[in-house]
Point group: C2
Chain length 170, copies 2
DNA sequence: CCGCTACTGTGCAGATCGATCAGTTGTGAC
DNA sequence: GTCACAACTGATCGATCTGCACAGTAGCGG
């Protein structure tokens, strides 16, 4: 297996962390916070975006606060060769937050959100009516134990030390 | 059920959409894009953050690009009353991206990521070793059918028309 | 030893930010 | 009908940040 992932060194990780904690901070503030030059922050950030590690900075919407307090995880068993059709169907349904093809005989796991249990059932029924779906099982999310996060994983390995420090001040 | 969610009108939705498509845009550029005054954008954005609808602007990290190309969904059946302990354990494991308590007799659904199948198995084994876990089932994600998104859901209802337009220029 | 790359610190012109003000308009209360 | 209120507009101000360029320093490999 080739290492397709761009290796993130300590500075990259620190940059991501700082950016997570202060999302609206500009390059100058980040550079101050990290103790490096502004140009370095800009270059690193540019590289992270170029390599596809950082795909965006979209606003994180709290669906509960927005009025969509009901979420569910649905496992779909789909008909042979219907993956393409189903993908299009899922993408067209606003209530479907995300969907993944998984191991198992044609299984798809998707996450669904709705404003109420009634609305959720509507979406679930619509899913079940699909010609591509053979069987479906759903569980309702009751509480969020661990909110979505990626930094702990990235940090866990303690990346390689930063590059040549170069001109060390003075 | 009370409508705890802050109602988002057309302008709020347009703002979120513009912000999603141009995440690094400042208030001025957003105002130009939406055709409203800069102060309005700032006020709306402030309100969205105050009401908790927008919780942050953290950088979206593509785990595959970062070298963590293996993801799995794990269903844990847990022992009675062990939810608290398990939550702490899950939070302490970097490989656990998120976790939700779900319907079913003490079930928890969590998403796990790893650098390779071997690493994934390590995490899975660690989960199984937990005293709080009675049984565990895991499916590996093969491909992402629908990437995570929230805007379609928010937009689907076509929020109420914007507020009093006020001074209409001229 | 030399070339390459990465980082540092600085400077400048232009753009943006945050705060504030008066003016206009729709809404709901009285 | 009239009034106060809330929301949006358009504008200004100083302070700050951005994008870009430059020369200098330090580690790495040939």
């Amino acid at each position: 297996m080739s290492t397709d992932g761009a290796r993130l060194d300590t500075l990259d990780l620190a940059l991501l962390r700082a950016l997570t904690e202060h999302p609206r901070a500009g390059a100058l503030e980040l550079s101050r916070r990290l103790g490096v030059a502004r140009g370095t922050v800009q270059a690193r950030l540019q590289r992270l975006e170029d390599t596809g590690v950082v795909t965006g900075y979209g606003p994180d919407v709290d669906l509960t606060a927005a009025g969509f307090g009901v979420q569910a995880f649905v496992t779909l068993e789909i008909a042979q060769g219907a993956l393409g059709d189903l993908t299009a169907e899922l993408a067209a349904m606003p209530g479907v937050l995300e969907a993944h093809a998984t191991t198992g005989s044609g299984d798809v796991l998707c996450r669904v959100a709705a404003r109420s249990h009634g609305d959720l059932q509507q979406t679930l029924l619509q899913l079940g009516r699909s010609a591509s779906v053979v069987r479906s099982t759903s569980v309702v999310a009751l509480s969020e134990l661990v909110p979505l996060r990626t930094l702990p994983l990235l940090t866990s390995e303690g990346g390689p030390p930063a590059r040549a420090p170069g001109h060390r001040g003075g």
